[in-house]
Structure formats: C-alpha cells, structure tokens
C-alpha cells in the first residue's frame, strides 16, 4: 500500500509575540483557523530577542495551506511589512499525509 499525500505549502512567519493576537485575527479573517505556534528566540535587525520579557519574545507561526490560501496569506503579511512591522515570512512546498 503506497502512502497517499497531497501537495500543499508550509508558510512560516517569524515575528514578535506582540503581534500574535493581531496576526491570528488577520488569519481568521482570511478564513485560516489551523495553525501552529512556536515560542522562539532570535536575533536580527531589531536586536536580540531573548524571550525573557514580553517585548523581546519571538514566535514562529506555521501554517500548512493550499496554494489558493497561500496568496491571501502572503498578501496580508505584505501589508504588515509595509506598515513597518518586522516579520519574516517564507514558504516551502510540502506533501501532506491525506
């Protein structure tokens, strides 16, 4: 028996935890209710994010989604970036177990 999978995309968004509630609202507006959140630390242009106080804590939001939703999510994230918010979003093609 061969394993049945279907192609989707994994989008990962790394940003400050201060944006979490707002980003989740944005995702739900688009109709995305499935996501996974990681508490992470990091470094970048905004300096050390050491996860010791609320303001220096990063999260990574991972969303497995279809190519259709992909465009909507990336467009919404683009808007955040244009306002000046620091977020890094990237996607990878994946095979999801059906």
């Amino acid at each position: 028996m061969s394993v049945v999978t279907h192609s989707e995309k994994v989008v990962q968004i790394i940003t400050s935890s201060s944006l979490e509630l707002k980003l989740i609202d944005t995702l739900e507006d688009i109709g995305i209710y499935g996501y996974t959140i990681f508490n992470v630390r990091g470094n970048g242009d905004s300096g050390l994010q050491d996860s010791h106080i609320e303001g220096d804590t990063n999260i990574l939001i991972m969303i497995v989604l279809s190519s259709e939703s992909y465009e909507a999510v990336m467009a919404a994230l683009s808007k955040y970036k244009k306002k000046g918010h620091h977020l890094m979003a990237f996607s990878v093609n994946t095979e999801v177990l059906s």
Binding site: S16, D45, S51, H52, G55, G84, H85
Partner: protein, 333 residues
C-alpha cells in the same frame, strides 16, 4: 545609610552578580518563561500589598497622588521627546517610541527601591504604589499620539496617491493598547483584590505574597542583571546620543519626582524617593509590546538597549541612593 551601603542590599548584589556572569561570558541563564513568571508574581504581590494598605488610606491624598502621577506620565515623555528631537538628532518615530518608555515605570526598579528602604528601616507611604499603577499607561498614549502626528506630517508632505487613505487617529485602539496591557491589569486587579478581601483571608495569602517576596526579588534581579548586560553589546549601534539620553532622562524624571513627592504630595523622604524612582525609571515590560505594534517604524533594539541596558542599571546602582539623598536634602530633613 550611606550610598555605598545601599549596594550591599541582596537584591542589588544579585543584580551585580548577573551582570558579572554575563560579562565573563558565563553560561548562567534562566530557563525560558522563568523571568516572566517571576515578574507576574512580583506584580501580584505588590498589587495585593498596595491594595490592602490603600483600603485604609486617606481618599483625598490618594486622589491627589493619582492626579500627579497621571500628569507625570504625560509630561515626562514630552520632555524626553523634546530632548530627542533637539536639532532632529533622532527621527520622530524612534523618539516617540523611546520617550514613551521613560514616561512609564519599571516595577523592578521600584521594588528594588522598596527593598533599599526596608533594608535600611526607612518608612515610606503606600501612595507611590498606586501611582506606579497609574503611571503605566499615560505615556503609552503620549508615545502613540506623537507617532501618529509624525505619520500625518509625513503623509501631508507627500503627494496623495489615489486609493491610499491617510493614517488616522484611532482613539479606541489607543486606549485599548494603554489600559489592557497585561501588567497594568494584573497590578490594578491585584490591588482591587487586596482592597476587597477580608484581612483574615489576606493573612493566608501573605506568606506567599509578602514573606518570600524579598528572596524572589533577588532571583529576579539576577536574571535582569544578565539581561541588562546582554544589551551592552548593542551600545555601539545605539550611538552615544541615545546612551547619554538613557542617563540624562532619569536624572530629569527623578528630579521631577522628588519635587512632586516632597512639595506637591508632602510625602516623607522615603515616599518621595519612591516617586522619584517612578519618574526616573523606564518601563521594559509594559511599553515595548505596545510600541512594537503601535510604532512599528521605530527600532525595538534602541528602546530595549536604553531601558534595560542603560537606565535600569543606572537607577539600581546610582539612582536609588542618589534620589534618596536628593529628597532628604530638598526636604531639609
């Protein structure tokens, strides 16, 4: 108590230990979440204590304390903004975000000041606690408004693009940012609990909220020492102007606080020193998330470097004994 003795308070010594550990590149570190958890505990404990004492406080004086605290929270960030915008040294967004931190307060600094007084056996009133709660929020509003004004000015100077709306001033969102902040709610809520609950019920909570308090504070300052020292690396990218601001601004805020405490509120030297610390300390818990979202144009690295890396150590080591001296000198006691 001389200035030097104040450094021998366990909490301050643990802060120094944290800084030292980081400077020698020790791998001493706190597990994720521990600092945040201790911070919740401290806010709860100080809130309960404040609430219980304020339940028996004089209403008129409490009202005055609230009024002046609110005003300090509005005025101090405006002074800071003026300083930072002097000859356009700092761009308006970073200036707005940074100054908001200085109008607000650092609970850890405030608690260390209380530890200083209690260890030295110096009395202090409890009004500064309610002032601390009040002062968490107004500066956030000032910062957000300053950034919005800057945004409007920039938009006005650009040709209008069809379909693009001018940035507006969303008052509801503003107030929400300022007053639903987790530490504001916890502090304020714990005060209400402390005021409502019966003394008998509170007595059962005290072993947790009062007796182990000083020890927990030591652990917290150890962690904060490590975190403060980590920011020292970023001094170079922040630049001398900002680092200087991180020392000058607490001097201004603390002086205002001494004046408010002694002259306007007629507090004891201990109480006035606490108000000075409210003025001089800069928030690094409540304000950074609000500025992250509300002023995304500013660089978060600047404000954490300043508040945690410069002003916090300055206040813990120099500010607390200095403002105490200043208050006793000014009051003539």
């Amino acid at each position: 108590m001389s200035g030097f003795d104040s450094l021998l308070i366990p909490a301050v010594l643990f802060f120094a230990l944290g800084v030292f550990a980081q400077l020698i590149k020790s791998d001493l570190k706190f597990p994720e979440g521990m600092g945040k958890g201790i911070s919740l505990y401290l806010l709860m404990a100080i809130g309960l204590k404040g609430g219980a004492e304020l339940a028996k406080a004089d209403f008129g004086l409490a009202f005055q304390a609230i009024f002046w605290a609110f005003l300090m929270g509005l005025v101090i960030p405006l002074i800071g903004y003026a300083l930072l915008r002097f000859r356009d040294r700092i761009d308006p967004f970073n200036a707005a975000a940074i100054t908001a931190h200085y109008g607000s307060v650092s609970a850890a600094t405030f608690l260390t000041a209380i530890a200083f007084l209690e260890t030295s056996g110096i009395a202090h009133e409890s009004y500064p606690i309610i002032m601390m709660v009040i002062m968490e929020s107004p500066a956030i509003i000032v910062g957000l408004v300053l950034a919005m004004l800057a945004r409007k000015k920039i938009a006005a100077s650009k040709p209008k693009v069809a379909g693009q709306e001018a940035p507006g001033l969303d008052t509801g969102a503003l107030l929400k940012e300022a007053f639903t902040n987790g530490s504001v709610i916890l502090l304020m809520g714990a005060m209400v609990v402390g005021a409502l609950a019966s003394p008998d019920a509170m007595a059962k909570v005290y072993p947790f909220s009062n007796e182990i308090f000083m020890g927990v504070l030591c652990l917290f300052l150890l962690d904060m020492g490590i975190e403060a020292a980590k920011r020292i690396k970023s001094f170079k990218s922040a630049g001398p102007t900002l680092v200087a601001f991180g020392i000058i601004m607490p001097l201004i805020g603390g002086t205002i606080g001494v004046f408010v405490g002694i002259t306007l509120l007629d507090l004891s030297v201990g109480g006035a020193m606490l108000v000075a610390i409210l003025g001089s300390s800069a928030s690094y818990i409540a304000v950074p998330p609000a500025m992250r979202y509300g002023v995304p144009e500013a660089n978060p690295s600047f404000y954490l470097t300043l508040t945690l890396g410069v002003t916090f150590p300055f206040n813990v080591v120099i500010g607390i004994p200095m403002f105490y001296q200043m208050a006793s000198w000014y009051s003539g006691v």
